[in-house]
Every structure is written in structure tokens, then in C-alpha cells.
Point group: C2
Chain length 249, copies 2
């Protein structure tokens, strides 16, 4: 096992950081890695907004409802960006609606997620800790206003990085026997039975986010997390249309 | 610069491979890395289908319209999978439509893309080459039929890996000055001007995929690639609904 894979298998979310600043040289390397990431059709339909303004960080933490987001030393928001290429085409007299349809949105979204993961591993390989902030989806409309994002752009995910000030337990994952299939999708007789051991593992796991209490069983978490609703997350669709993406023909 | 970052900055798409088999030990490590990847809310709403059947590979290559896909030694299709957790909740008597709405779809989609990137870097760190297959989006309905995927699942991206039999040039990327902003989105006076140097760089770059011809300028590629249409890609939305995802309330 090499250092890269060791880093990857040691991945855990870091939410608390020391005061040590990340040097500009390191930030440049991480961003270069993000930029070298594969991109759908080579179109590079994503961009990155670095948040250095504490007020904006505070607002994002409010939207995301995760107070520790305010304290992450460096915060980067990855966004879908069809605005750039659309404008290049427009200046060439050739813009059209195909360029901004849902398929192209999905391509840009994929590009940005790939970049965020590549960026994160690079950071972790240098001893930094990282936290993905999917919480910006709690209210993408507010995020768009806050970051003054134009039409044809959309927030994907945030990544906060810094030098770790905590060493959480590795969070258990559901076994690959539940997630990996060969040649076609494979079914279980009982899904609940198939995660029995995992349910127990999760109950024994301490999530530092939740004041050192043990976790719920995974099945209980599904009901709480996946079965519950954050109102503005339901509006993603409307916001996509307001942002000018062509959803249906 | 460490080995991880060196690997990341050397990323290039590999389309042709030697006959050398990837050992089961290595495959296991790569899949373990995928499984340790961060996941939205810890819900792990993605799965992986390994394609070992040459007939299925051939069919996927036809759908994707990329002949070399047939020859990739190992092929993995990452998919959104809300089916698993929905069934766990159902067995507990608690399923509801919130669990399968568009927000949850996007979370599963993000999880799968993060995994595909993590998997790819692990492979590259071991000297393997990789190719992302976004081309499965050419006709996701056919992919779903071919892989016998149930409702509440959806194809995200394929990754083909093997030992490289080519060493393509590094593909130039648009400068970060076009993609990186601070605190809010930043605009250009002319987007076409801002990529002048990049246009020239791309013209000088040889894409091995295209029989060793030089590439088009990036701006020309936008018109060809982003401005053109593959008919069934337009149906993503209908297919999402057929797959049972709740798109609108």
C-alpha cells in the first residue's frame, strides 16, 4: 500500500482546526490539482470561489446550519459554470440553448465534484484536514445571491480545509457486499437483515460532531436524515430554472 | 511535492491498455478506497457495478459511441442508489417520498462522483491508467435496461482502468485566472480575449483519440462539443421520472 492509498483509507471529516495558516504555495498546488482534474468533454464547466471574507463565511454557516463552518481556515465553493463558455460562444455569434441544457448542467456538476475530491485528497496528503459542505444546498438561492453568481452558474459543494485540531474515529462504512455488483444490479432478500452488523457498528461509533455521544444505528439514521426535509432544498428545481438552465425542451 | 500530488498533476486519460491483468488484491484496495470516500450525510446512496461480461462492455461501447471502451480491461459503472436505503426504511414501515426526491438524487449523484475520482487516483497511484466514461449518458435508459437497474437507481459515470499502453501528452487546462474567484463571482470584459493563449495551446496539443491530429482551438471545441446535441441525452429528465425519483412536489 502506497502513501496515496494510505491517505485515502484514512479519510475522516475534520471540523476543528488549529490557527496555523495554510501557505500560499500549498494553496496554489491544491488549486493546480483541481485544475488538472478530468473534465466532461474537456469543457471545464466549473469554477471555484475562495471565501476569505469572514462575514460571507458566517452567512454560509447560517445557511448550512453548521456553526463550525465559520471557523474553517480556508473555504472553497465549487460551482457549475456554464456562463463562461456560453459567453465565449456568444462573442463568436454562436450561442444556443443546447449549451445550457440539463445535460450540460450535469456535466458541469460532475466536473466540479471530481475537482472537489481531487483537491481534498491533495490537501489530506499534505497533512491537512477537510470537510465537504453539502449543506450549501440548504438554500442555493441565498448562496447564489451571497456570492453574486450570475445566470448559468450553480453551487455544487464547499470544501473547508486547515490543519486538524482533532482526530476523530474512522467512520464505519457499509460493507461492499451491499454496494458492489457484477454485470447487473443484485438484490437482497432483506435489506434490513443485510445491514445488521453495520447497524451495530454505527451504534458503537462516536461522532464528534454530536458532542461525543454514540451514534444511532444506520437504519435509524436513514429515517432521521434521509426521511426528513429542509424546506428550501425542495426548491432546487425552481432555482435551476431561475438560473437560466434549460431543463425541459 | 509528494507522490500523491505528483500523480494528480500527471493525470491524463488513458484509452489503450496492455494485456496485463489487474490483480484481485489491487481491485480490492481500489474498491475499499471508493468505499471510504466521504458521503453526503453519511447516507452512502451510491453503488458500483463491475462489468466483466464482454457482451455488456460491447453494448456500453455502442451506447457511448467510443469503440475503445470495449477494450478497457476493467470497467466500473458508478450509480445513484436510493433503492437500498428506501427498502431498509420500507422494511421498517417508514418509507416516504422525501427519501427519493431530487435533493436526495443529487446527494447520491455527488457521492458516486466523489467515489469515482477517489477510485481513479488510487488506480493512478499504482501505475494504472484510467478513463472516465461520461458517455453512458448518451442513453441512460438503455444502460438501465442493460444492467437491470431497478427504480431509484441511475447511472452516473463509468471508470475504465488497466495498465497503460500509451503515454499521451498532458492536456492543457484553461488558466485558473479564468476559473478562480474570491468571495464573489468575477466577470471578464471579453471572455474570448481571456482564453486567447489557451486557444493557441489547444491548437498545438495532439489528442491521441483523434488519430494524432492537432486539436481545434478551445473556442471552436465549445461550438462543436457543447453546442451540439446527442438526442437521447435530452431525455435524462423523463428517465429520472421513469426511475421513480420525485422531481417536483
Amino acid at each position: 500500500m502506497n502513501e496515496t492509498i494510505k491517505t485515502q483509507l484514512e479519510h475522516r471529516t475534520i471540523r476543528e482546526f488549529t490557527d496555523k495558516k495554510i501557505s500560499n504555495d500549498i494553496l496554489k498546488i491544491l488549486l493546480d490539482v483541481a485544475n488538472q482534474t478530468a473534465s466532461s468533454n474537456g469543457m471545464q464547466n466549473s469554477s471555484i470561489i475562495r471565501i476569505t471574507d469572514q462575514n460571507i463565511k458566517d452567512e454560509l454557516a447560517k445557511i448550512g446550519n453548521q456553526e463550525y463552518m465559520r471557523r474553517c481556515p480556508e473555504l472553497f465553493i465549487f460551482i457549475v459554470d456554464l456562463y463562461r463558455n456560453y459567453n465565449i460562444a456568444k462573442e463568436m455569434g454562436n450561442e444556443n440553448n443546447i449549451m445550457i441544457n440539463f445535460d450540460k448542467f450535469i456535466q458541469g456538476f460532475t466536473d466540479g465534484v471530481l475537482q472537489s475530491q481531487n483537491f481534498t485528497i491533495a490537501a489530506e496528503s499534505l497533512g491537512l484536514g477537510a470537510n465537504f459542505y453539502g449543506n450549501i444546498h440548504n438554500d442555493t438561492k441565498k448562496v447564489i445571491e451571497l456570492l453574486k453568481m450570475p445566470k448559468l452558474t450553480y453551487p455544487i459543494v464547499g470544501v473547508g480545509i486547515g490543519y486538524p485540531n482533532q482526530k476523530p474515529q474512522l467512520k464505519p462504512r457499509m460493507s461492499l457486499s451491499n454496494k458492489l455488483y457484477t454485470n447487473s444490479y443484485e438484490f437482497k432478500v432483506s435489506y434490513l437483515d443485510s445491514i445488521k452488523d453495520y447497524d451495530k457498528e454505527m451504534r458503537d461509533y462516536y461522532d464528534l460532531r454530536d458532542s461525543n455521544k454514540r451514534s444511532d444505528a444506520f437504519s435509524t439514521q436513514i429515517l432521521k436524515k434521509q426521511g426528513s426535509i429542509i424546506k428550501n432544498r425542495e426548491k432546487m428545481f425552481d432555482t435551476l430554472e431561475e438560473q437560466g438552465f434549460v431543463i425541459k425542451k
